[in-house]
Symmetry: C2
Subunit: 339 residues, 2 copies
Amino acid sequence: MNNMKQRRIVLASRPVGEPVESDFRLETVEAGTPGNNEVLLKTKYFSLDPYMRGRMNDGPSYVPAIEVDAPMTGGAVCEVMESNADGYAPGDTVLSFTGWQEYAVAPVKGLRKLDPAVAPVSTALGVLGMPGMTAYAGLLNIGQPKAGETVVVGAASGAVGALVGQIAKIKGCRAVGIAGGPAKCAYVVEELGFDACLDHRDGNLRAALKEACPSGIDVYFENIGGKVFEAVLPRMNNFGRIPLCGLIAQYNMTELAPGPDRTASVMRAFLTKRLTVRGFIVGDFASQAGEFQREMAAWVREGRIRYREDVVDGLENAPAAFIGLLEGRNFGKLLVRLP
Amino acid sequence: MNNMKQRRIVLASRPVGEPVESDFRLETVEAGTPGNNEVLLKTKYFSLDPYMRGRMNDGPSYVPAIEVDAPMTGGAVCEVMESNADGYAPGDTVLSFTGWQEYAVAPVKGLRKLDPAVAPVSTALGVLGMPGMTAYAGLLNIGQPKAGETVVVGAASGAVGALVGQIAKIKGCRAVGIAGGPAKCAYVVEELGFDACLDHRDGNLRAALKEACPSGIDVYFENIGGKVFEAVLPRMNNFGRIPLCGLIAQYNMTELAPGPDRTASVMRAFLTKRLTVRGFIVGDFASQAGEFQREMAAWVREGRIRYREDVVDGLENAPAAFIGLLEGRNFGKLLVRLP
């Protein structure tokens, strides 16, 4: 397969605010050949996740920035085409971090083999992968939900939020979601079994939260920020916990919102309610990956956890899908499928 | 002692912003007589603490509001004058919550007997009392300082801050204080043994923190808020902890500061640095009171913990002293002593 051509998407320019299609560039390059302990991979699915927006910026964050002209990175499910590594053979399916491209040469260190007989391989990018682990580890370690408590989560039909609420239900909690639009809200309640789901586009979120959380909020799994956070904070109970997973509402901000500066009132609420707020990323709980895999896979098998994938076909459609993700246009775990 | 007159200070009006002397009123009332299981107390010292500012406001907080025309409450060290309760005799010294008054009738439930032979009784309002326990429990439970880490605390010459830094030193940390003025800073370093103390009135606190904390900040014991918090946050290390004890810089705020709204950048820092922020009040750790008493008393005896009291004489001087406390004019644990 020497000199085989492949297509990939690179970062063409750093977005200012909302990414636009011209911030990405589709290019054709040689796929390369695997060296020692490397494999040539053919991408079947790759993942689109909100955290990728942060990588498109320069400057320090919890993940290094993607260089301009470098390929967009991220989780992918691939088939091994050629192998120069023990234990990997053509036809094997693996989870890799090779991102938005058709083919990739990758060292086998960092790959995880997937068994298509156990679960659909795409789930390694969703319910049984990084988003699932994010929901599981953040909710259980930081949220520490107790039976009878109320757990609120935003982006409730999304890859992480959908799982947070369902795990909360398994733990005996009242689960209240926040999502954009009536279709998503109906799905969250009827299909996922949340006790309620509030449409943040629809009128007064504060009033809706008050009605949906008559005993207040004990755990707010934060992946939104902005106006949703403002609406939730006054309803938090004393000793509430806020696992801080993401802030999708502010990823495209180019400047701080106009005043007044609400920091003082936010800090005052943390103090007087004795809240615990803890930022995390999934890697902080890497030691719990085995436990997560076993428990989540069992919940999925038993039908206690349901999931929905939003599959977009074609590499060339990834930028628009990603832009839509940041606007909440996806419905379920967003994946790009390649032929 | 029927119909004995006593003087006390009541809340005359709710302050708007900074309290002024006319928000307080000195009045003379009957001291009353103790009923069953009650004692008549004569105040020797009472405590002035920043949290009292919150009680002067209406509205929910972690402590109930003081009613207008009701006496200012707070910790006091008193002598028993009359007793109608088993186990309490005239001449006993007790810790009570009877506040800004010369005499008080109090149920013995809620009193704690003090032994003047063990420690000066005033320490029950400071190093061996609520402020000491606040520093001890907040730093150890939430801050979780590890040897070699850097701990920063504001109001470093004050009742709580002085102890936070000294406990941090006992735990093998680098202790950096922030205080107002060169005299306090010199005391914090030379007498209390902090590694550095920065004058927040003097130039660029951000630059000073960078120099004083070359390895960043692992624990920020927050009792200030406002500009000090803004300066500290960029220096926090990943996985840092922020015990949120108080926000004295904003207690007198009548409205939020002008924009922009920095909440988004604060939350982003919590997320990307994976910080833990937890509000607390001393009562949240009440079960550790015995352990605190034993350990702190031993540290004081061994000379490993030093403390300073700022004693004001005379009931009538309490309002001005309290107003000064909120402006940082005290130097050490602020007490009012009665003849």
